[in-house]
Subunit: 187 residues, 2 copies
DNA sequence: ATTATGTTACCGAACGTTTGGTAAAATTGA
DNA sequence: TCAATTTTACCAAACGTTCGGTAACATAAT
C-alpha cells in the first residue's frame, strides 16, 4: 500500500499543539514528529525549510482560524454590536480553550537571538486591535476612544491568560471576558 | 594574579538578562557563559546543579528585588496609599525598563515537557496579588473588591507588557500604569 | 492495454553541529 | 602547602537537517 497521506489539517493541528505548549526552542523535531505522526524526514518533505517553516505555517493556520471565526463574528454586520461581541468572545473562549491554552504569539515570541517572528506577531496584533476598534465604533465610540478601548481589551485578554496560567485558575480568564462584555455593553 | 572572583550580583544580573531575553530553552550555556564572563565549568562550580539551578537563582534574585523595592513601597505604612502606589508603580517601571523588558515569569513559563517552574511562578504571582490586595484595603476597598482589583491590576501589568512588545510601542505599558494609578486614586 | 517515466508520500539511517555536563589540571591567595 | 577558583579539554546525547531509497499513484506514449 502506498503510504496514506496525512491530512494537512492534522499536521498543522499537531504542530500547533507542540509549538503552543513548548514554544519554538522547546519544540524538538522529535516532538513535532510524534505529534503529527510523520517521521522527521517526512516533515522535511512537507516543510523543506524546516522548523521555521513549520512555525510559520502554524502562525498562518491559527491566524486564518482567528479571522474566519473570531474576527468574522466581531465584524458580522448581520448582528447587533452586542451580539457580535458575545459571539466573538465565545470564539476567543474556544481559541484559548477556556484559558487553558496560551496564545501562539506568546509561544513564539521568545527564541534565541534575533526575533524570528517579530513581524508576523506585530501584524497579527495590529489586526486584533483594528478589529476591536471597528467594534468600538459600532458601539458609538469616537475613533480615539475606540482605539484605546481596543488596546485595553487586548491587554485584558493577554493579561488574563498569563495570570490564569500563573495562578492556575481559569476563572481569571473567564472573568476578564465577562468584564470585556460588560464594558462594551455600557457604551 | 589570582583569578578574580566575579561578584555574585554581576553573575545573577548576567544570567537574568539572558534568561529574560531568550527564555529557558533559548538560553544556552554558551550564552550564560558569555554574559557572566565565566567559562562553562566555572558556572558549574557556582551552580553544581546546572542550568536549572541558575534559573532558580535568577528567580530568587528578581523576587528579592521585587520584594525589597516594589512590595516595600506598595506596603510602606509611612506613606499614604496614593504615594505608596505612585512609588510602587515607579519601581515596576524600573523592573520592566519602561516596557522594554519582559517578566521573568513569562520567560521561564515555557519549556520542554514538565512545567519546571510552575510552583515558583505560582508563589510569586500570589505575592503580587496579595500585595495589591493589601493596597486596595488601604484604599478602603472591601476584601472582595480588593482581591478583584488586585487581579485586574496584575492583568493590566502583564497584558500591557505583552501588547507593548507585540505592537512595538512602549506607550501601551506606560498608559496601563497610569490607568492603574487613576483607578485606585478614585477609591 | 501495456509500458515507461515522473511524481508524491513516506521512512531509516546517517550527517555535522551544538547541547548540557564533567574530569583533571592550572592558577591564584592565604 | 592548602583550599578555592578558573580553565582547558573533552564527552555522550540530542539537536536540526540531509540523503538514499521504496512503494504507490498519475500521466502519456506506444
Amino acid at each position: 500500500m502506498r503510504p496514506q497521506k496525512v491530512l494537512d489539517n492534522e499536521i498543522l493541528d499537531g504542530l500547533s499543539q507542540v509549538f503552543r505548549s513548548k514554544g519554538y526552542n522547546g519544540a524538538s523535531l522529535k516532538d513535532l514528529s510524534d505529534a503529527t505522526g510523520l517521521k522527521k524526514a517526512s516533515l522535511y518533505h512537507r516543510f523543506p525549510n524546516g522548523k521555521k517553516e513549520m512555525a510559520d505555517a502554524v502562525l498562518n493556520h491559527i491566524q486564518s482560524w482567528v479571522e474566519e471565526r473570531v474576527f468574522f463574528e466581531l465584524l458580522n454586520e448581520e448582528n447587533s454590536p452586542n451580539i457580535r461581541l458575545k459571539k466573538g468572545l465565545n470564539e476567543i473562549r474556544i481559541l484559548y480553550n477556556g484559558g487553558k491554552e496560551i496564545c501562539i504569539f506568546r509561544a513564539l515570541s521568545l527564541q534565541s537571538g534575533l526575533e524570528l517572528f517579530a513581524n508576523e506577531i506585530n501584524n497579527g496584533m495590529q489586526k486584533w486591535v483594528s478589529t476591536f476598534e471597528s467594534l468600538g465604533l459600532s458601539f458609538g465610540l469616537t475613533p480615539t476612544e475606540a482605539k484605546n478601548e481596543a488596546t485595553r481589551t487586548l491587554i485584558k485578554i493577554q493579561g488574563s491568560l498569563i495570570v490564569s496560567k500563573g495562578l492556575n485558575n481559569i476563572e481569571v480568564f473567564e472573568n476578564a471576558l465577562q468584564e470585556i462584555e460588560m464594558t462594551y455593553s455600557k457604551f
